[in-house]
């Protein structure tokens, strides 16, 4: 189960490696933010991709989910999954609000 493997001590290198990755990604995301003439949406996609990447390695390595049982995976996943549900359905409304069912539909 979840905590079972937590009594194992992981090598320091796991944490240092994770830290280097995080630092590299931090530099990457700042640099990417300053590339001129990137369309706004692409900037958001790049920034969020890097953020998700960073968050994932923190969850996996620092929070030990990678070494944990199914239950920890389930809980860690559930929060983000429900967040995606909320975002997806709310955005579905905002994106589709201006759609016209047919041409000339009254505002």
């Amino acid at each position: 189960m979840a905590g079972h493997s937590d009594s194992h001590v992981h090598p320091v290198s796991l944490y240092t490696r994770t830290l280097w990755w995080l630092m590299a990604l931090l530099v990457l995301t700042v640099v990417a933010g300053y590339i001129p003439n990137v369309p706004n949406w692409l900037g958001v996609v790049i920034a969020l991709t890097i953020a998700v990447w960073k968050a994932t390695i923190v969850i996996m390595n620092f929070m030990h989910v990678r070494f944990s049982g199914k239950l920890a995976w389930l809980f860690a996943g559930a929060g983000f999954f429900w967040l995606i549900i909320m975002l997806a359905f709310a955005f579905a409304d905002y994106v589709s609000r201006p759609w016209e069912p047919f041409h000339g539909w009254p505002e």
Binding site: M1, A2, G3, H4, D6, S7, V9, H10, V12, Y15, T16, T18, L19, L22, M23, L26, T29, V30, A32, G33, Y34, N40, G43, V44, A47, L48, I50, A51, K54, A55, V58, I59, N61, F62, M63, L71, A72, F75, A76, A78, G79, F80, W82, L83, M86, L87, A90, F91, Y94
Partner: protein
């Protein structure tokens, strides 16, 4: 069971409760240490799930307004200082690392080392908060706190300098055209009234203060807990305890990494995008 016996078990119960973060005493409701430790871990994860949705809802609101008011929010973004944000991200990421090391030391029962890493974490968190303090005061100075004396003046000013905002007049009324200047040529994307511009940038700073404020509150709470843990680890060290319960540190670690993750998303969404 007689009253006497009940009293006895009850005393045991109280003794257990007094040391709940003690040396891994088994709670009365549990059968084994393993059951107790996994229960605590799963409970902490359930709490983290709750936190993810707590922050998630406000991220969703922010995302929707940024989607609606891209230009205004982009111009307001520029008021935030990327160097300070980057420094704070660096500091928090590093504190997550030292926290992970503290948990590792706790598992090995190396109390002094644990206290050292917790202390580093505490210091990094302090640096983060001091930075935040300077950042907030700068916003207050420029009237960017969305309270009574909010004023979008500095946003307008900076945007004009960068050629991303142009003041135009139509039928005697003032409008702001928001857009980009490329090769000396200004292209307008949207046109808003000064009031709308003021409202929407104010909305951005509202989100900025609520989101970073809630996050900062979490950092503060974390610092208090870490402070207590430092004291405990140090006492364990002085007492030369062979074994101590690592669960409090492990759970605080999970909490601290969550605080870090929230910032990992706050940083690009508030400071970076739309540069």
């Amino acid at each position: 069971m007689s009253v006497k016996e009940l009293e006895k078990t009850a005393t045991l119960e109280h003794a257990t409760d007094g040391h709940h973060h003690g040396d891994g005493i088994l709670g009365e409701q549990f059968e084994t240490m393993e059951q107790q430790n996994t229960s605590y871990l799963i409970g902490m994860w359930a709490f983290i799930v709750q936190e993810v949705l707590f922050f998630g809802a406000i991220f969703a609101a922010y995302a929707i307004y940024r989607f609606k008011y891209v230009m205004e929010f982009t111009l307001a973004h520029h008021e935030l200082s990327v160097p300070i944000g980057t420094l704070n991200t660096f500091v928090l990421l590093f504190s997550s690392y030292t926290m992970a090391r503290a948990v590792r030391a706790a598992m090995q029962n190396r109390h002094k080392r644990q206290a050292f890493y917790l202390f580093l974490t505490f210091i990094f968190a302090g640096v983060f908060m001091v930075n935040k303090y300077f950042e907030y005061s700068a916003k207050f100075e420029h009237h960017l706190f969305p309270g009574g004396d909010y004023d979008a003046h500095s946003v307008v000013h900076h945007a004009q300098e960068k050629g991303e905002l142009r003041v135009v007049e139509e039928n005697g009324r003032e409008f702001y055209e928001l857009g980009k200047t490329r090769d000396g040529q200004f292209t307008a994307f949207t046109k808003v009234t000064p009031e709308e511009f003021e409202q929407r940038t104010r909305l951005f700073f509202g989100f900025y203060f609520v989101m970073t404020g809630l996050h900062g509150l979490h950092v503060l709470i974390g610092m208090i807990i870490i402070g207590v843990l430092i004291g405990r680890a140090w006492i364990d060290h002085l007492k030369n305890k062979p074994i101590a319960d690592f669960m409090p540190v492990e759970m605080t670690g999970l909490y601290w990494h969550l605080v870090d993750i929230v910032w990992i998303f706050l940083f690009p969404l508030l400071y970076l995008i739309g540069r």
